[in-house]
């Protein structure tokens, strides 16, 4: 009796392995590439439409941004040593403002979309739970732009982007330098930085 149950259990597990690729039996490097390809496809189909109003574009971009990027991780990296000095309320406020700033600056860039395509060209492991996807943007004019995506797999095995490296320049590192300088200009106080971020948001929104 036990042996039959045991054998049946093995059969079910084996079948599950074939029926549900995506769990450990799948090829994560390809999954990582597909993740980026999927993001690009969704971005082009939902955001790159020139007819969209700015507010609608921002809403759609935010949806993609929140679901594909690890904002917590990026925010902590950008704030670096000041993160620990901040209270939980300040940290939360920072992440919210950071998300708003990112949405405003990036969704505007999609306004200029002109038929570019994103081609993943490979992926490799990057630490214990990290992946690095190589890709390039093919434009109508000029050479293709190499872009690397740094992904991290969470406990739920879902991919999230923690950095974009364009032509050798890391967005996270650039932001970190920028924010560190803004912190210093504000006497090292997190509240002052939050004020600076709020003013920046107002300025960007006023641009239209």
């Amino acid at each position: 009796m036990d042996r039959r149950i045991f054998l049946r259990a093995i059969a079910v597990l084996g079948a599950a392995g074939f029926a549900f690729p995506g769990r450990p039996w799948a090829e994560p490097a390809q999954d990582a590439e597909k993740f980026i390809q999927g993001l690009a496809g969704q971005a082009i189909s939902t955001i790159a439409d020139r007819q969209l109003s700015d507010s609608e574009r921002a809403i759609r971009f935010r949806k993609l941004f929140v679901s594909h990027f690890d904002i917590q991780e990026i925010g902590r990296f950008v704030l670096s040593r000041y993160w620990r000095q901040a209270t939980p309320e300040q940290q939360q406020e920072f992440l919210t403002l950071f998300e708003d700033l990112s949405v405003l600056t990036w969704s505007k860039r999609f306004k200029e979309y002109n038929g570019e395509t994103l081609e993943p060209t490979g992926a490799g492991k990057d630490g214990e739970r990290g992946w690095l996807v190589e890709s390039r943007i093919v434009r109508n004019q000029g050479p293709p732009i190499p872009i690397q995506w740094r992904l991290r797999q969470g406990d739920d095995m879902a991919f999230r982007i923690v950095d974009i490296i364009v032509d050798g320049v890391s967005m996270a590192i650039t932001h970190r330098s920028d924010y560190a300088a803004a912190m210093q200009a504000n006497g090292g106080k997190v509240d002052s930085l939050l004020d600076t971020m709020r003013s920046k948001l107002i300025t960007l929104r006023a641009e239209g």
């Binding site: 040593r81 700033l101 050798g168 970190r176 560190a180 803004a182 200009a185 960007l204």
Partner: protein, 267 residues
Amino acid sequence: MRLKIKSKRRAFLCLAALGFLAAGCATPPPPEDKEGLAEYNQINDPLEPLNRTIFDFNDTVDVYVLRPAAQGYRAVVPPFGRDRVADFLDNLKSPLYFANDLLQGNPGQAGTTVARALLNSTFGVLGVMDVAKHMGISGHKSDLGQTLGSWGMEEGPYLVLPFYGPSNPRDTAGMIAESFGDGLDIYLQDNHLRWVSWTRMGLSGLSMREAYLDPLDDVKRTSLDYYSAMRSLYRQRRAAQVNDAIHPGQPGQHPQMTQKTDPAKSR
């Protein structure tokens, strides 16, 4: 003890470079603030106040002169024309690219440069058309600062040059040395055609400024601190270019993202 020696060297650098502009040097954080000091050393911008002043000056010149000129250039000359100008100017630099490719120990790259120069100068009518690219031989640039970097020379502290913008001691030295080694300029000088050299320089500046109109506008608009954002972008870009010289054709070394404030590779 090592820190003491480092700040001694920095102090000397400050004094030697600007005996009369002592106000241009930054004040490092006190040694008790270990994280602050680590950050200060990693940023490596001991001349920050002076650099910021020059940066602001450059920005003013840019807002009132360079940017409008570049916009005018873009408005008046169609993309086809601007591309021809860029291709022509790029072709003129082939001897320097070739020299640097060799110095970097990249014979393959050097060969590509020669092939491109020959193809573009003949079929491309003196370099006005980049026919080589259409044949699959795409171009690259090499400069002396990049070469020195590929030999292992550190870039040194951040410098903002008047008009030329972001740089560092190594790249500045490279630029100056190259200006003495530019064969075309030497020829023009010897034949009393200095004005052609100046025209070429002006056109180069205009062409490059036009190419960077959108990216620079974007950085200025979206950054909290334009100066530091540019510093970070410049340094990362340069590091990537030096890496290209050491490993041509391979994707770059990846800047590490660590939660520690370890200064290691990030800028």
